[in-house]
């Protein structure tokens, strides 16, 4: 469907996007996840036709659309702060795109009502947009973007302005609506919770390039490098050097770790980072016995409902682990990570 080929764009003389290519298939929701300033919104605006790329091209079903102006692309864009028209009421906001298509007023009205029903905002037609709460505005903006039946839906941090509880609730609704509409969608966010909740395909944007693309499960299990693991918040990272191969052994400040994950061929002496996932930690009493174990002091222990989030410290290295039971602050204990639960990642 949509194909993006080798998009380049610079901002104030510095390269921002350096060759972005990907495709969006029918019914697929692609999440662009990146830090603020990574250029993800700019990329979205280039796809929308609101900004021009310096190089690269856009294709829709094999037809180049790079030069097609924004209002003729037939794409829907939901803005970060919604950009609802303040001088129009809810009904007129949602009807706007339909009116621009020159549809008869009866159809405009019917489809407006249907769009509002889809986001559960029926009955709000006559309300001024300024009277709506943040969540309500978000729904109206979504209805407005969906009403003209765009061939692609783009959402630019649509939940960014909302509080946490509302966000959690709306992620679910967005997933339902995106699924029901079967529209290809590009969803831009810096929040991994949103991305994991919505994406069919997740793309990490970093340093002007797509650092990794794949399903949420793939990215979760096999982050491509230490940056990706850190950004996705998968665990604590520990710097080390490859000591030997087969079995892969990594020397670190906390001792030597044996790793059975071999996603890539390593060289002895190569600098790497180990990903220590909080839920994979094993805690013992006594002294560390051999590899994959070290002694740490409990700095803090927080009750999280299901389990405890415990912050540990070894000299000036700190890491977080999950434990079933509370640990006494100040206590020394032995922590171990089984070789098959460790990931060895390319250092940044």
């Amino acid at each position: 469907m949509l194909e993006i080929r080798d998009i380049h764009k610079s901002y104030e003389g510095k390269p921002l996007l350096e060759g972005i290519s990907f495709t969006v298939r029918e019914g697929e929701t692609v999440c662009l996840l990146g830090e603020s300033g990574s250029g993800k919104s700019t990329l979205l605006r280039i796809i929308a036709g609101l900004e021009e790329a310096e190089a690269g091209s856009l294709w829709w079903n094999g037809e180049e659309i790079s030069a097609v102006p924004a209002h003729k692309r037939g794409f829907g864009l939901m803005f970060q702060d919604y950009a609802l028209f303040p001088h129009r009421n809810v009904q007129a906001n949602v009807a706007f795109g339909l009116r621009m298509q020159g549809l008869p007023s009866a159809e405009v009205e019917a489809r407006t009502r249907a769009a509002l029903a889809m986001v559960r905002m029926d009955g709000f037609e006559g309300r001024a947009v300024a009277e709506l709460s943040g969540g309500e505005q978000q729904r109206v903006a979504l209805a407005r973007a969906l009403a003209p039946d765009p061939r692609l839906l783009m959402l630019d941090e649509p939940l960014g302005a909302l509080d946490h509880a509302l966000r959690k609730q709306l992620i679910g609704e967005l997933r339902r609506i995106l699924h029901d509409s079967r529209k290809p969608a590009i969803y831009v966010t810096h929040d991994r919770e949103e991305a994991f909740g919505l994406a069919d395909t997740l793309m990490l944007l970093h340093g002007g390039r797509i650092a990794q693309a794949g399903s949420t499960a793939e990215l979760f299990r096999h982050p491509v490098n230490a940056w990706a693991a850190g950004f996705l918040g998968l665990g604590s990272l520990l710097s080390g050097v490859v000591l030997s191969l087969a079995p892969l052994r990594v020397g670190t400040a906390l001792g030597v770790f044996r790793v059975s994950d071999c996603a890539r061929a390593w060289q002895p002496g190569e600098k790497v980072q180990l990903l220590l996932r909080p839920r994979e930690a094993r805690v013992f009493a006594g002294q560390p016995e051999g590899e994959n174990q070290f002694t740490a002091r409990v700095r803090d222990c927080l009750f999280m409902g299901e389990n405890y989030q415990t912050e540990l410290r070894v000299d000036d290295y700190s890491l977080t682990i999950q434990t079933e039971l509370p640990l006494g602050v100040g206590a020394d204990l032995v922590v171990g990570f089984p070789p098959d639960k460790l990931s060895c990642l390319e250092a940044e």
Binding site: L50, A70, H71, G74, F75, F79, A83, A130, R144, P148
Partner: protein, 565 residues
């Protein structure tokens, strides 16, 4: 308890001085005019009250104001778009130059156009030299187009500043959202940009209309005897025909209508959609890219330069060029550069229409302007504090202090003459009253500059200073004053230049021995003779330079992102 009472008295004192001043110098003259007008109406004196004449004058005033406003919009809107969207060489200079006419005295505006289009102006001189004519071929002065042209000249900046300011802050995401929903450029403008800019356009238009409706100097000097607005008619009836009752009736009609427009202006320009439509930061300017954009930029720049720069340059250059034979030396044409008109300002020749050196007018004007600046700013500061400190009451009382904006300078002059000719006042005290009249004319501008800044200082800042042990005087010195300093400077420059150029009230109050600069310029240009003409140009040029310095000061001292009005 004691402290609370002390505070009350402070507040009362804040109110007292401005209120007393307005009562004596504004509402008293106003009452006198009302009394006069209604007594004339009730007495039904056929000779003094002429309904048909009042209606006709009102009709013309309305008509020329409407036409002027439409033309000003025609010039101002494209310029507002240009300044709010495009970066181009000379942008800052052009922006500054368009501010200048607004603070230029109307008399100088009239002389500018006279030096360009009048019988001795560049256009006619050029055509006469080119085609060897003995009479000036172009007669634009003393016509409606001359009035309209001058009105467009000095009011375009209002549209540029107000509409351009709103346009550059208009949230671009809204128009982009419209594009994404399939709206082409025309629909985006029609459905989004125009409705969202409407408060700014409406407010600015009504303000321009207000200035055009109460136009005095321009109409008097460029319209000739055939055209008279209410202002000019009040002046003529009062000073030349001594028909004070009719002048009173005209004043009341004028006042009632301007108040209505001012009220409407206030209503219309209220920001309707608040934060939703305006982003806090200005959109980035960009260089014109397409051929159409480049052509548009060039066209608007040329139009603005022709409209603004040409009359200004024409005045300055014409004031240092002698092109005609001097009086008593017919035939000996000395064409070329001369500073004679400037030198003559300091001499008292018998040929001068004054029996005092023209430089006296300069001295008078500077003295008046200095006094008016101090009075207006002292009153403005006190009033601002009084209005700001009294919350809801202040909002109710505010219109009473803004009202002098609705009363024209000529009305004010008429009222002054009527009230202050009785003992203990007499005709000799009129010149002393000039700074008070000028301060009243400047007060609304001063308030519009100071009050928003004062209201912008968060109370928590003062409270914080207070909890740190600062008394009210200390708080004023350490918190208010530093924040207010720029605004105070701007409002002082405003008051000074307003007083320097004020013509309407001054024409009532200044005497033959004590003219102000605009009054002197008017007398010079009304008299025949190359020397009188040249001296009018020279004095106007001096005033222009002072105003130019003023507009630079205002532009520099203005807080970034802050707009006038």
């Amino acid at each position: 308890m004691k402290a609370k009472r002390g505070k009350f008295w402070w507040k009362a004192l804040l109110w007292l001085l401005p209120a007393a001043f307005l009562l004596v110098f504004f509402y008293q003259p106003l009452a006198a005019i009302l009394r006069l007008a209604f007594s004339a109406r009730l007495a039904g004196e056929g000779q003094s009250f002429q309904p048909a004449m009042v209606a006709e004058t009102f009709g013309f005033t309305l008509w020329q104001a409407l036409l002027s406003t439409l033309l000003t919009l025609g010039v101002g809107l494209p310029a507002a778009y240009l300044f709010s969207h495009f970066e181009f060489p000379g942008r800052k200079f052009l922006r500054l130059i368009t501010l200048l006419p607004f603070i230029l005295p109307t008399v100088v505006t009239a002389v500018c156009f006279n030096s360009l289009l009048g019988p001795r102006g560049w256009l006619n001189l050029g055509l006469m030299a080119l085609f060897n004519l003995s009479e000036p071929p172009v007669h634009i002065l003393d016509s409606l187009p001359a009035i309209l042209l001058a009105h467009v000249f000095y009011n375009s900046s209002l549209i540029i500043r107000i509409v351009g300011g709103a346009w550059s802050r208009l949230d671009r995401k809204l128009t982009q959202a419209a594009r994404m929903l399939g709206a082409d450029a025309w629909h985006t403008f029609w459905e989004l940009t125009l409705p969202l800019l409407l408060p700014a356009i409406g407010g600015a238009s009504l303000l321009v209309f207000l200035f055009d409706f109460t136009s005095f100097g321009v109409v008097l000097m460029l319209g000739g005897p055939r055209f008279a607005t209410l202002e000019v008619e009040i002046y003529t009836q009062a000073l030349y025909l001594f028909n004070l009752p009719l002048a009173g009736v005209l004043s009341v009609v004028q006042l009632a209508f301007t108040l209505l427009v001012a009220w409407l202006q206030n209503r219309v320009s209220l920001p309707r959609y608040g934060k939703a439509a305006m982003s806090s930061e200005r959109a980035n300017l960009r260089r014109p890219k397409t051929r159409a954009e480049k052509a548009f930029t060039l066209a608007v720049v040329i139009m603005l330069a022709a409209l603004t720069l040409l009359p200004l340059l024409s005045l300055v250059t014409r004031s240092v060029v002698s092109l005609e034979a001097d009086r008593g030396a017919r035939g000996e044409v000395q064409a070329g550069f001369t500073l004679r008109y400037y030198r003559e300002l300091f001499r008292n020749t018998s040929g001068s229409i004054f029996y005092v050196p023209p430089v006296t007018a300069v001295r008078n004007s500077l003295l008046y302007a200095g006094a008016a600046m101090l009075i207006a700013n002292l009153l403005g500061l006190l009033t601002s504090y009084a209005l700001q400190a009294s919350g809801r009451l202040g909002r109710w009382l505010e219109p009473l202090f803004i009202l002098p904006l609705g009363a024209s300078a000529v009305t004010l002059g008429l009222g002054f003459v009527m009230v202050f000719r009785r003992p203990p006042w007499d005709a000799f005290s009129f010149p002393m009253l000039i700074p008070f009249a000028h301060a009243l004319v400047a007060l609304p501008l001063v308030l519009r500059t100071l009050l928003p800044t004062l209201r912008g200082i968060p109370d928590s800042l003062r409270q914080a200073a207070g909890t740190l042990g600062a008394g009210w005087a200390r708080v004023f010195r350490e918190v208010d004053l530093p924040v207010m300093l720029r605004s105070l400077l701007v409002s002082m420059v405003f008051a000074f230049t307003v007083s320097l150029g004020e013509f309407g009230a001054s024409s009532f109050l200044s005497t033959g021995q004590n003219p102000t600069i605009p009054v002197a310029i008017f007398r010079y240009i009304s008299q025949p003779g190359a020397l009188n003409y040249g001296q009018a140009l020279a004095m106007s040029t001096i005033l222009l330079l002072v105003c130019a310095a003023g507009s630079v000061l205002i532009e520099k001292a203005r807080l970034p992102g802050e707009e006038l009005f």
